[in-house]
Assembly symmetry: C2
Homo-oligomer: 351 residues x 2
Amino acid sequence: MMYKIVSIPGDGIGPEVVAGALEVLNAIAKKHDFEVTVEEHLFGGASYDVHGSMLTDETLEACKNCDAVLLGAVGGYKWENLPHEQKPEAALLRIRKELGLFANLRPAKVYDALVASSTLKTEVVQGTDFMVFRELTGGIYFGQPRGYDETRGWNTMVYERYEVERIARLAFEYARKRGNAKVTSIDKANVLEVSQFWRNIVHEVHQDFPEIELVDMYVDNAAMQVVRNPKQFEVIVTSNLFGDILSDISGMITGSLGMLPSASIGSEHALYEPIHGSAPDIAGQNKANPIATIASVAMMFENSFDRPEVAGEIYAAIEDALAAGFRTGDIAAPGEATCSTTEMTAAIVAR
Amino acid sequence: MMYKIVSIPGDGIGPEVVAGALEVLNAIAKKHDFEVTVEEHLFGGASYDVHGSMLTDETLEACKNCDAVLLGAVGGYKWENLPHEQKPEAALLRIRKELGLFANLRPAKVYDALVASSTLKTEVVQGTDFMVFRELTGGIYFGQPRGYDETRGWNTMVYERYEVERIARLAFEYARKRGNAKVTSIDKANVLEVSQFWRNIVHEVHQDFPEIELVDMYVDNAAMQVVRNPKQFEVIVTSNLFGDILSDISGMITGSLGMLPSASIGSEHALYEPIHGSAPDIAGQNKANPIATIASVAMMFENSFDRPEVAGEIYAAIEDALAAGFRTGDIAAPGEATCSTTEMTAAIVAR
Ligand SMILES: CC(C)[C@H](C(=O)O)[C@@H](O)C(=O)O
Ligand SMILES: CC(C)[C@H](C(=O)O)[C@@H](O)C(=O)O
């Protein structure tokens, strides 16, 4: 097997964590006799400083011509005051749209070794392990008309049938693979017509998956339920804006934001990245936690290369390193000894 | 002083908790020599069963011709399968709009006596005490165009300048009364133009309150911060949809959803209600917790009658009753003795 990967280290701690993840990738490739080629490209502030643009055509083309993209992080204080269309956020939305990455997968998984770092009580949160499917290229993020003037501001939340169908289908297929896990579809159908439409289509798609339990939940209630009893969820599927909010709360309650990976996938392309930001304050100090990016490589094997057993090896190595007591600063309990980015990487590679 | 109040017990446990709150109201009136008249009206399922409509013109007129409305709860299984426009939700939205109740105030306050019932760790949540100002008659709840057909669904998130101005002003004025509390305005200005507009107007209004600290926060981050460190908030101001989600999480983390009141206020009318629902499963059993409705009466004295010291007496009586160990089923720890709705009411009246 031969995989062609584009790596986009980006800004802040991005280069360090991506370097760590690529080490793990190489180690796994050697072990399993895959051939991996990695092509590095600029994105975000790093690209802006060289080319005056956060996302060049060259980087975009490269992303379209590879098997998977691995992204570190983008943004930082330095580029915060640029006009809106030149900011990192705009580049992120553009790359999602151009690559057709309509589904954002974010696991909310509590590592036993780190359960104490959650602000939720251990008995509430321990054992939490669900996946959020957030629609990523539609809804109010991209709807027209939009704009503002002196007197008013407006955006449009809109979904087309095919947009709801494909994300719903992906979520149900994933649920089936997970032993017919329960799917919770989250909307605001008691107020919004676009949500009623979402709900209708999700139920239509559900007819092809009669063995799977489907629950509808309003977004306000869902946000509470994630905090009240996160273990009730197995698979969540929701729209772009609700998913933005819910996947962040879901990550937060695990107590390990620095540990969580994500996958953004479309029918032709896929991009993997840690959910944490660029953390400019600790950049370049060999302090950052590489686990989320390493776990993103695991998601790459699961989703893009259909090699769940390889992903399983990576997850197991992460758990072993944690069990052996390796802790970067972000996940160390007060007083606990900490290790560096490279030490954590080496510990995981060794396993 | 003479106050004219319309009481709308509504459905489920509504009648019981409103009866409790009116007892407290009468006791306070006697003590302070106010004259209070209470006129009872139908709303929700109770109205539908008699008149075939959740909200009659008669009830609406009564609400417009009084000093304050006290609402119990609406809805229940029985009316869940009505067509959308006949449901309790539609009646709620209509009464908000008709009475011009543009601001929904929801305190997120942790009672020391009940801190253990939060799913958050005690050290994270104890001492939390902030107020959410949710815009209630605009945004995507009411924006046009809206609808759905076979192929797509759409809604419009829109804000006019005056709508943002008046809610922002109310929040800043409240913050000033609270000793120049910090105001956090929550939006999604990195993606939505309507949020950028919201942010601009909030900053314009802020110029009249230079002594107050104003912080902008994105909604996804805010949802996480409420779970990570709720004590950082003092006053939150946000739009209708974001406020729906955030005020529910904020209530949930206190561990006392059954305890929390709300005020919905406009320039001419005001409506007070507990945030909990109609709980049809325990209706009519004298088990419901009347505290949220009693605290709603306290908010009435603060906001509609400008008598914060009377409100203070009610809050103090609630805290005393809790300190003395009175617990309805919803707030009793496992194994703890419980009291009835009427016993809790009597305990509070006695204080
Ligand atoms: C930075 C922002 C545009 C982005 C989003 O809202 O999608 C971020 O919050 C995310 O979740 O990836
Ligand atoms: C029932 C529903 C229409 C309502 C809302 O979304 O406003 C409720 O969730 C609330 O917060 O009062």
